[in-house]
Each structure stands twice: as structure tokens, then as C-alpha cells.
């Protein structure tokens, strides 16, 4: 078994119901995209968690680097005027 090539890693995104966006729920191994989708169905939606699944090869994801954290994120920290906190949000708006 040690000689077996490992299956590639896939990241799994699930939309729990209509109107919401897909959320990252975890990752899994699968030999190809079609099997990744099926594995995601079995591993992550067994308890009715979803109505739609995306799988993405983990290798295709470009991630920000922890080293660039200061340059990337710190400048946003002191600019409160960018937050839409000066509006009254109607109670009926649920997913803002």
C-alpha cells in the first residue's frame, strides 16, 4: 500500500440553502473531480447540510501569505468610515 500514489486534495464548498453563498466546509481526497463531488456528498452532506456542492482542486487555490499580513490587512484597521455603520438596516433584511 505504501507505493500507492496519493489521491489529490480537494477543497469542498457547500451551500446550505437557496439564497446563501457557498461556504468552505473542509477538504477530502479523491482521484478526480467527479469522484470528489461524490465523496463530498458522502462526507459533508449526510445530515442534510446542503443543496449545492462545489469542489475545487486544493492546488488551484491561490492563498494570501502570512508574511504579507501587515501590508495586506492592517491598513484597513483604522478606517471606520468604510463600514456601513451609519445606516439603519431594516429588520426584514436577514443576510447582510
Amino acid at each position: 500500500m505504501s507505493k500507492r500514489r496519493d489521491w489529490p486534495l480537494w477543497e469542498v464548498f457547500i451551500r446550505s440553502r437557496r439564497g446563501l453563498s457557498h461556504q468552505h466546509v473542509g477538504s477530502l481526497h479523491a482521484p478526480d473531480a467527479a469522484m470528489a463531488l461524490r465523496n463530498a456528498r458522502d462526507v459533508y452532506t449526510r445530515r442534510s447540510e446542503g443543496v449545492s456542492i462545489w469542489v475545487v482542486p486544493a492546488a488551484a487555490i491561490v492563498a494570501s501569505s502570512p508574511d504579507e499580513k501587515d501590508a495586506f490587512f492592517d491598513p484597513a484597521a483604522d478606517k471606520a468610515y468604510r463600514h456601513p455603520t451609519f445606516y439603519d438596516v431594516p429588520a426584514e433584511v436577514q443576510h447582510l
Binding site: 489521491w7 477530502l28 481526497h29 479523491a30 482521484p31 469522484m35 461524490r38 465523496n39 458522502d42 449526510r46
Partner: protein, 255 residues
């Protein structure tokens, strides 16, 4: 309530329930042993779908029988000769290719059967079938995907998949062997005449085998159908011993 005679109906529910129960027990043997964790979960899901079907069908068989036996009595306290499942369901897991060949053959048949059973005159059977069609569609797809990949994979995977197919093939004929009881129930619109399912089964299996570059085993011996009469293969006693041991040693045990 259907017009079918009750002993016939009870036996019919028992047959279908035993198919699902026994294959569920077999598939459970893969858990923690499948090639990958993801496959453990996939096979466990399939096993649990089948177990759910078995519970409803055995409960119904017990209810129709009217002798006070519940699903546990029927699952755990019957002996080998009293089980009515087809032999294909009890074949040992062997390797993954054999398991997938068994699953493709069984699920393709079970799907065709339950699609017709949704219009059964018996409401309970129709209800079970309605739920099972969705479940079994996935089981068939899962097996199909693997047979395609293993058959049309490497030389070694192709060889093993072909060999797996040949291992289970002699047990396929039984799936389409009808008998008087089934014919009586079918004429009342309660049961499905399995001999009519063969063309549909062939169409799916043949297309999968062709795409998977596998050869349909032809000319080999077809074993006589004994499962519906309680005649089982050698390994079945061991399966029952494992499945029934706890319940028989500790009657009424719960957790």
C-alpha cells in the same frame, strides 16, 4: 391493505428485506478497511441506506405475518435456512473490485425493481420503493463510477475488475428468476415480476462494461437460484454468526 394473501405478502417483504439486510452487513465489513477514508464513508452510507430499507421491510413482514415477530426477531433470531435473500447479496467482499462488481450488478437490478414497485398496489411496498429509488440511484452511480475507473484504469486494475466481474457473474441469473409466489403477487399488482427486468439491466450493465473496456462474462456456469428458498452459499453462516452473535448472547441488549 392489498388483496394479496398475507403469507405471500409477508414472504415477499422478507425477501426484499433480507436482500438489503445481508448486503448492508457485507458492506459494513469495509468500514475502516476501504482504500481511503472517503470510501469508508461512502460504503457506510450505502450500507445504512440498505439497513433502513431492511428495517421497514422486516417490520412490515413481521406485522403482516401476525405472529408477533418484530424486525429484531427476524434479523437476529432466524437461522440460515430461513433467510430469503439472493446469493449475490451475501457474496464475500473479497477485494474492492469484487465488491464494486457485486454492487453494480445488485444496485442496477434493485433500482429497476424498485422503480416498478413504486406503483405497487400495496401502499407500504410502494412507499419503501419510492424512498429506495433515490437511494439506489446513488448506489448504482457509485458502483458505475468505480467500475469505469478500474476497468479503464491501469493494466492491473483492469485485470482485477474483470476478475471481480467473473467472480459475481454466476449469481446474476438468480436475480431474474421468478417463482409462483412472485407471479401470484405480480398478477395482483403487488409484486414485480423480476424476469421482466433483464433487458433494462443488460442495457445499463453492458454500456458500463463497454465504456470500462471490460468483457461481459459469457458462457460460464450460472448457479441455480436457491436464496429465495433458503439455500445459501458457504460463507453465509459466518456472516450470520457475526451479525447475530451479540443479540443472541445478550437478548434485548441496548445502548
Amino acid at each position: 391493505m392489498s388483496v394479496a394473501t398475507l403469507p405471500d405478502l409477508a414472504t415477499y417483504a422478507l425477501r426484499l428485506g433480507d436482500d438489503s439486510l445481508v448486503l448492508s452487513q457485507r458492506l459494513g465489513g469495509w468500514i475502516t478497511n476501504a482504500p481511503e477514508l472517503e470510501e469508508d464513508v461512502a460504503l457506510a452510507n450505502i450500507a445504512l441506506d440498505l439497513l433502513g430499507q431492511a428495517r421497514t421491510l422486516l417490520s412490515y413482514a413481521g406485522e403482516v405475518e401476525g405472529a408477533g415477530r418484530d424486525e429484531d426477531d427476524l434479523a437476529y433470531l432466524r437461522d440460515e435456512r430461513d433467510f430469503r435473500n439472493v446469493a449475490l447479496a451475501e457474496l464475500p467482499n473479497s477485494n474492492f473490485a469484487v465488491t464494486m462488481a457485486r454492487q453494480l450488478c445488485f444496485s442496477t437490478w434493485q433500482l429497476a425493481l424498485h422503480q416498478r414497485l413504486t406503483s405497487s398496489a400495496d401502499e407500504t411496498l410502494a412507499g419503501v420503493a419510492g424512498k429506495a429509488v433515490k437511494e439506489v440511484s446513488y448506489h448504482r452511480d457509485h458502483a458505475t463510477q468505480w467500475v469505469l475507473r478500474l476497468g479503464d484504469g491501469t493494466d492491473e486494475s483492469h485485470r482485477r475488475m474483470q476478475s471481480g466481474l467473473e467472480r459475481v457473474w454466476p449469481y446474476v441469473a438468480e436475480l431474474f428468476t421468478t417463482d409462483e409466489l412472485e407471479q401470484r403477487l405480480a398478477s395482483d399488482g403487488v409484486a414485480v415480476d423480476v424476469s421482466a427486468l433483464r433487458p433494462e439491466w443488460d442495457a445499463h450493465v453492458d454500456s458500463v462494461l463497454q465504456e470500462a473496456t471490460l468483457t461481459r462474462p459469457e458462457g460460464g456456469p450460472m448457479l441455480p437460484a436457491g436464496g429465495r428458498r433458503g439455500i445459501h452459499t458457504e460463507s453465509f453462516g459466518f456472516l450470520l454468526a457475526e451479525m447475530q452473535h451479540l443479540h443472541r448472547s445478550h437478548p434485548g441488549a441496548t445502548w
